[in-house]
Structures are given as structure tokens and as C-alpha cells.
């Protein structure tokens, strides 16, 4: 589903190279965890997948279902089925959450040639999804993410993911800022989306999240490259021994 080939990317503003020859393949149905120390390029990778303009790909390619997505803007990638759950979801005053959800769902439907959702059907879907995430529907009457706690913002991201039904989900440190109960709810939400035709990329610092969202593969990112890949036992190894050992091996 996702194939990243020898990817090099830098920050447009100052030319700093962050991704330096990254290779990664994630198959449909797979849950892949990407771990790595601070500054290894994890969040940058998520932004590049989503198409953020602040980064420039200088070499290599990103294939999604066999097609390069480098020329697609963020909206085109999203309608193609790529979803990024942000580490720090943006607060957007003045944009009502409900209105935003409706526009986003219907824009995606339009791009796929589907009819826009009727209001009752839209509301039904939102209510059902919110209920599974223990979210108060009244929260969605507020402006997008404004005044939401850290945990509420993360739940709102997962809510969007459930409603938009993407094929490739990229979760950027979804566990940060969550207490144990919220972590469980959010993880359950993600697990419910696991399916043979969907791939999930979980970016995290800690093993903690991976106890709830058990990955099929684990990849260690360091200095903009995947330096080691393995199964879920690799995450346990990292938790016990830190990144130093793996980094040492690679060097």
C-alpha cells in the first residue's frame, strides 16, 4: 500500500536535510510502528506523507497503491485515502467542528463521485462515532479544537479518522498527552479500524501505546533513515535497552 523509496527531504526555509535515504514498505492490513529518538525525523515523515509544503523532497519517491503522490497537494492525498492524525491538532477559531466535519466528509465524497450526505445521516454517523470514543457531542458544537484539552484533541482526531474512513492512517504520537483511560479509548478506536484493506502507521516514542495497538512490524528511525526493522519484539527490546544499542549496531 505504502512504499517509500530512498526518500530524501529537507526543510524548504533553511535547506536542512531531515530525511536521508529512507526506505519503508507497509502492506494493506498491516500495522507498522515507527519509533525513534527525538529529532530522528518521525514527525517530518508524517508531514511529508500528508503533503505539507514546508518540506521538499529532493530525491526518491513515495508510492501509494503503486502511484507516486509527490505531485499531489494535501487535499488530493486526503481524498485518495491518506489520513494524518496530528501530534498537535490545530485550534481553528471560528470554524465550527460540526461544519468542518460535514465539509470534509462531503468534499471527500464529492471527489470520489458520491452524493453528499444528508443531514440526518451525517448526524447519525457523528453521534455513533463520538459515542464509541466517549466524546460529548456538545463539544463538537464548539469551534474546531478550541478549548479542547490535549486528550480531547486526540480523540477528535480519531473521530475524524473514523468518519473519513481512510485507507492509510498515519498516527503521529497519538499517545502523547493522554492519560491511561484515554489511551485505552483511543487505542480501541484505532483497533476498530484495523482491516485487511487498510494500513496503519503508528509513530511513537514509547512502547506504552504498542501494548494497546499491537503492531505487525516495528521500524527504528534514526537520522532520517530506517536503521532497523523487526516485529513487535523489537519495540520491547527498545523499551528495555534504549535506542543506544540499535544505533550502535547500525553505526
Amino acid at each position: 500500500m505504502l512504499e517509500i523509496r530512498n526518500l530524501h527531504a529537507r526543510i524548504v526555509d533553511d535547506g536542512t536535510e531531515i530525511i536521508r535515504g529512507l526506505n519503508l514498505t507497509v502492506k494493506a492490513g498491516e500495522v507498522a510502528a515507527i519509533m525513534g529518538p527525538n529529532g530522528s525525523g518521525k514527525s517530518t515523515l508524517s508531514y511529508i506523507l500528508a503533503g505539507r509544503e514546508d518540506y521538499e523532497v529532493t530525491e526518491g519517491d513515495i508510492l501509494y497503491n503503486g502511484q507516486s503522490i509527490l505531485e499531489m497537494d494535501p487535499a488530493e492525498r486526503a481524498t485518495a485515502g491518506i489520513f494524518l492524525a496530528f501530534q498537535y491538532p490545530m485550534e481553528i477559531p471560528g470554524v465550527a467542528t460540526m461544519e468542518f466535519l460535514k465539509v470534509a466528509m462531503n468534499e471527500q465524497r464529492k471527489a470520489r463521485g458520491e452524493e453528499p450526505l444528508k443531514v440526518p445521516e451525517f448526524l447519525k454517523r457523528v453521534k455513533e462515532a463520538a459515542a464509541t470514543l466517549n466524546m460529548d457531542i456538545n463539544m463538537l458544537k464548539r469551534p474546531l479544537n478550541v478549548g479542547f484539552s490535549g486528550g480531547e484533541k486526540k480523540r477528535a482526531e480519531i473521530l475524524q479518522m473514523k468518519l473519513l474512513e481512510p485507507k492509510l492512517c498515519v498516527l503521529d504520537e497519538t499517545d502523547s498527552g493522554l492519560d491511561i483511560d484515554a489511551l485505552k479509548i483511543v487505542s480501541d478506536g484505532v483497533n476498530a479500524l484495523r482491516s485487511p484493506d487498510r494500513a496503519i502507521v503508528v509513530i511513537t516514542h514509547y512502547q506504552r501505546l504498542l501494548e494497546h495497538i499491537v503492531p505487525d512490524t516495528v521500524h527504528v528511525l534514526y537520522k532520517g533513515q530506517v536503521i532497523k526493522s523487526g516485529d513487535k519484539s523489537l519495540a520491547l527490546d527498545l523499551e528495555a535497552n534504549g535506542y543506544a544499542g540499535v544505533i550502535g549496531e547500525a553505526a
Binding site: 509544503e53 497537494d73 490545530m90 481553528i92
Partner: protein, 423 residues
Amino acid sequence: MNMHAQPQRTLAETALIDAFGERLSLLPGDGAVMTKRDDAIEAIKHGLPTRRIESWHYTDLRRLLTKVPAFEAGAVGKALAPVLEGSAVLPVLNGVSNAKLPEIEGVTVQRLSEKLTDGSIAPGLDRYGDDDAIGALNTAFVADGYFVDIADGTELEKPIELQNLQAGGQSHVRLLTRVGGGAKAIVVERQTGEGDEALVSSVSQLVVGDGAEVTWLIVQEQPDTATHLAQFKAHIGKDAKLTLFVMNAGGKLVRQEVVVRTTGEGADFKLRGINLLAGDTHTDTTMVLDHAVPHTTSTEVMRNVVTGKARGVFQGRINVHQYAQKTNAKMACNTLLLSDDGEFSTKPELEIFADDVVCGHGATVTEIDHNHLFYLMARGIDEKSARGLLVKAFVAEVIEELDDEALVEALEVRLDGWFSTHG
């Protein structure tokens, strides 16, 4: 007005002075009113204000008012459906109060032409200062409008909409409203039109009685062939509240003056304004607020969206008088500049003579936040729609503050209307 006579009259000045001579016999009013008219045209004879007059620095009326259309207007149909459903509509069509007067409990409505004829409004026709060109123009030519009196203690069930519609040509309208003590009212002042070149002057005068609560919405949607010179003047009594919402979404040359004075302790004034500016237009909102007694409060928030070659101005002057201790006043003006050719000038002024007050002001000019744009696009909303959502959000924030669902919805309809033609 200028202290010194201009060396040569402009076409517009000449046309106004000539028109006064021709119209004089048609204008209603007794001796007292005529004296005010004569004084007013004298002021115009001294020349329209230029940028050398401080309060007109960003709107050089002498240079910008290049032509003055004749009085003959096109045919204007009938009153429009009101902005707020169920409102009692008082229409002024091509400068004439043109309707059967509605009967509303606790409300007395009179045509202004009658009050001009009997001279009872003569004292209110004075200019508020030497630079009051709009007041002078209006006093010279005003022929009609309405006088609305809301009796003490009346809580209006339905809003009143004062509708000023102009189909080209000239009109000069005055809308006087007295809201009695303890009364409650929502008033919409709708300024719009269609057709050829127009020159409209409109002066609204409002007295908010002690303990009364008034929400006044100015919805200005003139066509881009119209020059719209408007003034809103209000006195706010003891423990009374006035919320003034101004939406400028049209016009070729627009100046909206807001002249407010707190006259009783505990008075509160809120100004919320949105300027939606497009095309090759000029829109000036100028406020002069006098905190004239102790313990009064005010907040002013302007949100401006500038596209195309539009130019916008906000001048906000707050005068805190010497005895007006414990005044609390805050002013903010935020502009979203969406084109390289557009411009917006902001001039906040605080003049404080009391020593125990809290006053502040701030101004920002920004572009669309790229982080926000990325977030919306990352959910599949295409760039154009995402930008539209963000621009709308920028001004909608001020509307939502009104905290009245019917008002918010009605104004969002106006907003959507503007975005559908200019977005």
C-alpha cells in the same frame, strides 16, 4: 470643514451647491430648519474635507468624490424581506418614507418629513464638529426618514428594520430613534440599493434611555456604483447597554461614522464591526467615543477582510473625560489582507484626562495561517474551499459573539452571500 476656502471648487462641490439652490423650495422645514440648512451648505461652500483635515486623512473626500449624480433616481421596487425574519419593516425608497406606518405596541412611528415641517427636530440638525461633513451634507438636503419612539419599559417582541433603498441618484435620510428607559429593542439599519451611480447620506440618531438595552445592526450592502456617507450617533444613559454591529459589504466609496457618548454611569457600549472589502473600493469606519461620565465601559472589535484593490480605514478615537474615572475601554482592529494590491489603514487614538481608568488598543494585519490551511486540506478540503472557510471564520468569530442565534444565523446568511460573489 476647512478653515480656508479652497482655491477652486471641484465638480462635486459645485454640483452640491447648485443642487441646493434648485432643491431648496422642495425641502421640508420651517425657519429654524432652514437656518440649519443654510449653515450646512455654507460649510460645504468652504470645501469638502481633504486629507489635511486630520479626521479625513485617509479618506480625502474632496478628491474621492469626483461626481455627484442628479436627484432623479431609477425605479425602486418595494421594500425587501427583512434581514431578521418577522421584523417590522420601515422602508425609505429613494429617500421617501414610503409605507403605511406599522402599528407596534409601545412604539410610535412618525415620518421625518413631518418633523422637519413642524421644525421639532431642528436642534438635532447641528453638526457635531467642524469636520462633520456628513452631518452638513445631510442637514442641507435631508427630506425624509423616520422617527421611532419606543416607550419606557417596552420590550419589543419583534425587531424593527429601517430600510434605506436607493436606485441611483441622490438621497439624504435621517433615522431618529428614542429607546425609553428600561426598554429592550433590536433594530436593523439596512442600507442597500441597485442601479446607477448613487450618492446616499444617512444619519441615524439614537438615544438609549436609562437601563435600556439596544442591539443595533447596520447592514450596508450598497452596489459598487454607490457613494455611501453615513453617520450613527448615540447617547447611552445610566446602566443602559448598546451593542452596535456594523457590516460593510458593498459600496464604491463608503464612510461610516460612529459617534457615541456615554451619558450615565454604568453605561456600556460594544462595537463589533466587519468590513468585507473587494474590487476597487474605499471603505472608512471612523469612531469617536466619549466616555463622559464615571464608571462606563466599552469594547470595540473590528475584523476586516481585504481583497482585490480595496482600501479600508478604521479610525477609533476614545476620549475619556476628566471626571470619567473607572472607565474601562478596549479596542482591537484585526485585518486579513488577502491581496497585494489591497490596503488597510488603522488609527487608534486614546485621549485620557482621567487618572483611574483601564484603556487599551491593539491592531494586527495578517494573512491566512498556513498551518490552519494545511490542517483543513489534510482532511480533503480543497485549497479554495479551505481558504474560504478560514476567511469566513475570521469574521464569523465576531458575529458569534452576538450570542443570539437568530441574529447570528441571519448575519451568516449575509456573510455567505458576500462570499458566494467575492470568495
